[in-house]
Structure formats: C-alpha cells, structure tokens
C-alpha cells in the first residue's frame, strides 16, 4: 500500500526521538560498521599481500631444508634432514634447464659497527650471485656483489639505504670499512629504497657473498636456494628439475618422500588466505551477534510501538485497512529503522577503514560488495525482526483495538 506514508511515519519517529532512535539502532550500526570495516581491511590486505608477493617473487620458488611447515612434529622431523649447502646451489645452477637464476641465500640478524657508531637489528643476508634479480634490488651507488666476490669469499657488502644513512649520514659510504661480527667488510654498493611492507622496513639489511656468510656466520647451517624460472609456464618444469637433481644428489629411492622443501609464492599466498579467512569468519560471527542483538532491540521497539498505537490500528482497520496493509506498514517502519542504522553503519565502517588506511600501513579497499552487503543485511534484520510485531499488529481485532485505552 502506502509505502511512502509508512516510510514517512518511521522517519518522523526517528527524528522525533533522536536519542532513543540512536540507542535502538546502535546494534545494527555496530554490526554493519564492523562487517564493512572487516571486509575492507581483509580485501585491502589481500590485494596488498598478493601484489607484494607476486611482485617480489614472480615465478620464483624456494628450496630449503624445511619447506612449508605448519606443525611442531613436522618441524622436529625436518630438523633431522641434511642441510642445504652452497654446493647444492651450484648443482642446481648447473642442472635446472628452465631456471633463469639460481641464488643461494641465508640470513641472520646482527649489529653493524662503523667506528664509534652502530646499527642494531640489521638483517645480514648471505646471497649468491644474481640476488638482485630475485630480491628486486636496484643499485643506487657503487655496484652489486658478483661471482668473483663469492668465489673468493670476499669481505665485501652492499648496504640497504636505511643502514647506510644511519652509519654514514651525509657521507659517501662506498669504500668505507664496517664491522659485522668479527670481520671487517668493505662497502661496495648501496641499494635504492623499497619502503615498508606491513610496517616492516625493507631497507634495513646488509648483503654479503653467500660463501663468505657460510665461512664466518653459519659454517654448518643450512641455506635456502631461490630459483627463478624462465617464465610462468616453465615454473612447474623447473620445480621438477630441481627436485630430481636434489633427490639424485641425496640418493633418495623412488617412492620415498623428499628430504628437503620446495615452496612457491602461491604456497604462502594460500596460507595467508586461510589465515585471513579465519579472521574473516570470526569477525563476521561477532558482527552477526551485534546484528541479532540490534534486531531484538528493533523488535522490542516495534512491539512497544504496536502497543502504543493499538487504537490507531483499530481506526485504520475500521476505515478499511486489510491485514496485509497493517503488516506492510509495520514492516516498512521496522525496515526503515534498520536501514537507517545500516546506512549510518556503512558510513562509519567506510570512515573507519579510510582513517585506519590513512594513519597505518594497512591499506583499506572499500568495495561495492561490502556496501551492498551492509544494505542487504540491515534490511533483512528489519524484515526478520519486524515480522513478529507486524504480525501481531495485523491480527488485532478491530473492535478490541478501538476500545483500547
């Protein structure tokens, strides 16, 4: 019937009792706002991580001792495996036909000294030749480390810009002697800044040749080998080649499992998605509780409204309103209420996402789907929780209703 009239009645009631309306709608507002905010964050995070992972390691896979481990037992098992060595890396470099680049890598965190100054918590990387391609480093000053540095276990290093700035403010770092642990290294290059990822600086590192690293840092430690395939299509072939070579070197009988791990960016991406999927489900659960509570409050207010307006319902029925006219009127009122809450919730959720996106490294991706979902959810809350009061109103006996004081 008179949709406009019912909506008008509901909006007038909302305006007339601002505080009551706000309290009534609080549950719905919180529910919708949190759904919008969570979807925005998870969306933004997904996009961000996918971008970064694919950017950093497109067509790259990693061979290491452990592989992708998610349980403690698997970890203990993997401890007993033989280490991956620079010799394995050499074998792979020689043998994997579909590889563009095979780079050995290992790392530790240490303090770096230059004269009286020092920088703490620097990611000291032992990298084989070609690391700049795999890790996407471009040189800002000086040069990258090369084959010769590695073969001769040179005490040479390339610094991340953050470390260089901290140790040599305003001075040219190239050729300076710095100390990492017991050894003194010569700075041969500084990379260009990459910025932050999830709040972590990507510029706080020092690269030294992998064999130098093996000699001084982790003589018996296992390394990892990053392999970039020729292209996307070659990735699975390259993985198979690497497996075959390592199994051959380790004399693993056919049918026995690998005693090394191979992971791709996809492995991480998948794991990450499972993780955020979990967060997502939990938050949707919390939001649902808020929405149910909000719906019950709306139902309560509508029940009060039906009682307050019993006489009005009687009059309307006497004037010719059918059951479904009354039903529609109260459903529209309940839905108008909850939709108002939904719209405020959407604004709040989007606002929250944008504010957090602006002041933290977490990006927020507000999408149309979240907004449609917010509108749909709040209308459903109104229709669902408005049904019972509307039904009560519709089935009122006109004589009793007219007599109601």
């Amino acid at each position: 019937m008179n949709l406009r009239e019912s909506t008008g009645i509901a909006l007038t009631a909302i305006r007339a009792n601002k505080l009551r309306s706000f309290l009534t709608l609080l549950g719905t507002i919180i529910g919708v706002a949190s759904v919008i905010a969570v979807i925005s964050f998870v969306e933004g995070l997904n996009r961000f991580v996918a971008d970064k992972l694919i950017d950093a390691g497109s067509n790259v896979f990693v061979v290491d001792k452990y592989g992708f481990i998610t349980s403690n037992e698997a970890w203990e098992q993997a401890q007993k495996r033989p280490d991956i060595t620079p010799e394995d890396a050499d074998a792979l470099r020689a043998g994997v036909q579909h590889a563009k680049m095979v780079v050995a890598h290992s790392s530790t965190v240490e303090r770096i000294h230059y004269r009286a100054k020092h920088v703490d918590g620097v990611n000291v990387r032992g990298d084989g030749p070609g690391y700049e391609v795999i890790s996407d480093y471009t040189i800002a000053e000086g040069r990258h480390l090369g084959e010769i540095d590695d073969q001769h276990r040179q005490l040479a290093c390339v610094l991340g810009p953050e470390v260089a700035d901290d140790l040599f403010p305003g001075a040219d770092p190239i050729g300076k002697q710095i100390r990492i642990g017991e050894q003194t290294y010569r700075v041969v290059g500084v990379t260009r800044a990459k910025g932050k990822m999830l709040g972590q600086s990507q510029d706080r590192f020092a690269v030294i040749p992998i064999r130098t690293f093996q000699k001084y840092k982790a003589e018996r430690g296992s390394i990892e080998i990053n392999i970039k395939s020729l292209d996307q299509a070659a990735l699975p072939v390259a993985i198979q080649e690497a497996r075959n070579i390592l199994r051959g070197r380790r004399h693993i009988a056919p049918g026995k499992p690998d005693n090394f791990g191979i992971t791709t960016a996809d492995t991480w991406l998948e794991f990450y998605r499972t993780l955020t999927g979990g967060i997502f489900v939990v938050m949707i659960g919390v939001a649902s509780i808020a929405l149910v509570v909000g719906g019950i409050v709306i139902m309560n207010i509508m029940l009060v409204s039906v009682t307050e307006r019993t006489r009005e319902i009687g009059v309307r029925k006497a004037l010719g309103a059918r059951r479904r006219d009354i039903l529609t009127q109260f459903l529209v009122e309940a839905t108008t209420l909850s939709l108002a809450g939904g719209l405020i919730g959407i604004l709040l959720g989007v606002g929250l996402a944008l504010v957090v996106g602006a002041i933290s490294p977490l990006p927020a991706g507000v999408n149309g789907f979240a907004i449609v979902l917010g509108i749909a959810m709040s209308s459903l809350v109104g229709i669902f929780f408005g049904s019972y009061p509307a039904f009560l109103a519709a089935k009122l006996d006109p004589i009793e209703a007219l007599r109601y004081e």
């Binding site: 006497a318 010719g320 309103a321």
Partner: protein, 235 residues
C-alpha cells in the same frame, strides 16, 4: 432494502459463560433513513453497531447489506465493505494524532487505492463541506472538540459510503457543540445519505426520523419519530 437483518444472534464466550449480546434481532433499514438506536448499557446496541459496521460477524442469523451476506465474508472482504460502504464517526473522534486534518480525511481513500491528487481533491471537498476548509493543515490537538468531530465526519463521508454510522457522536462534547454536530448530520441526511446514530441520550435520538430501542439483546420498540417524520425527505 439497504440493510436487512433476520434473526441475528451474537454470543460471546466470557470464561465458561455464554453471553447473548444479541438474541434474535430483525431490522430493516432503507436507503436515506435517519435512524437512532437507543438503549441502556448492556442492551446490545454496541454489539449491533459493530455488526452493522462490519467490524464483527454474527454467531447466527443473516445480515445483508446491499444484498451481500456479511456473515460469510472473509476478513479482507469485511475490510473492503468497511472501506466502501461504511463511514464511522466515533465518540472519541479517533483521529490520527500525528496527521493533519486533510491527511486524516484522506485515510479511507488511501486504503481504497485512490491516487494522490484525487485523494487530495476529495478530502478538501469533504472538509469544506463540514466547514473546515481553513483548517486543513491543522493537527487534531490544534482543533476544538467540535472541529475534531467535524474532521471525523468529513473522513466518514469522503469515500461516499452507503451508511454513516455514528457511535455516541456527541458524547465527548458540550451541548452547544453537540447541537452543531447533530445539525451537520441533519445536512448529511438531507443530501441523501443514510445515517444511523447509536446513543443513549434521548435528546440526540430526537433528531432522527426513526427510533429503535434495544433491551436485553432484542428490539423493544421501533417507532417513527412523529415530530421529525413530518420533514420532507429529499428526493
């Protein structure tokens, strides 16, 4: 015959007891009659009014309104009859407090499914007819008792019903205002409407041409009001 009632019974169940509110009523009312239904409280006049107004259905017997049997109708059909054939005027006015006069008068037309412009036009005409052309935007609490009742009369008239059914229409008004309202009914009757007034006040009943007295669920007497019947019924 506009209204034909035969052996009408209405029994209420109050706890384990059965209350015979109407106990065999026969009544015929022709178009353009002006009838007063009188009786002390508990005589069954309210029950009769509810049945006449299609707010209730009889336990047994027959009520034919314009040759439609009311007793066998569904809720929705009753709602339609109330909308099209009955115009209610209540003792307590029963206007919607939040709506202005014209919105109140429009309400029956809303449920009749009439378009907005047409509604406005007819509601305005009805209000002008009861002399409230200058009070259309006033809310009920901005109107006097007599004005409120006239808004209610305009609302009763707006959908051109077969019967104007008034339940103690002057019960909440002082006697001067009451007279005003009764002369409004007089005019409505003269314009060719059928008017039924339920009242326990003899003064009010004296305005009608015919007086039906109820007692204990039955019609006690059904007399022509000599003083009034002399008036010429308009053609």
């Amino acid at each position: 015959m506009l209204i034909a009632i035969r052996d009408l019974h209405r029994i209420y169940q109050v706890g384990t007891e059965e209350v015979h509110a109407l106990n065999g009523v026969d009544l015929d009312i022709a178009a353009n009659e002006y009838v007063a239904i009188m009786g002390p409280s508990g005589s069954g006049k309210s029950t009769l009014m509810n049945l006449l107004g299609c707010l209730d259905t009889p336990t047994s017997g027959s009520y034919r309104l314009k040759d439609h049997e009311i007793g066998s109708m569904s809720d929705d059909e009753l709602a339609r009859i109330r909308n099209q054939e009955i115009g209610f005027v209540f003792q307590t006015f029963n206007l919607l407090a939040r709506a202005d006069a014209i919105h109140n008068v429009e309400l029956p037309l809303v449920y009749a499914g009439i378009k907005h412009e047409e509604r406005r036009k007819r509601a305005r005409e009805a209000l002008e007819m009861v002399g409230l052309g200058d009070r259309m935007k006033h809310k009920p609490n901005e109107l006097s008792g007599g004005q409120r009742q006239r808004v209610a009369i305009a609302r009763a008239l707006v959908n051109r019903p077969s019967i104007i059914l008034a339940d103690e229409p002057t019960g909440n008004l002082d006697s001067t205002t009451g007279e005003e309202i009764m002369s409004a009914f007089e005019r409505i009757w003269q314009q060719g409407n059928t008017v039924i007034v339920v009242t326990h006040e003899p003064d009010i009943a004296q305005h009608a041409n015919r007086v039906v007295r109820m007692r204990d669920g039955k019609i006690e007497s059904d007399t022509v009001n000599e003083r009034r019947a002399a008036r010429t019924v308009p053609a």
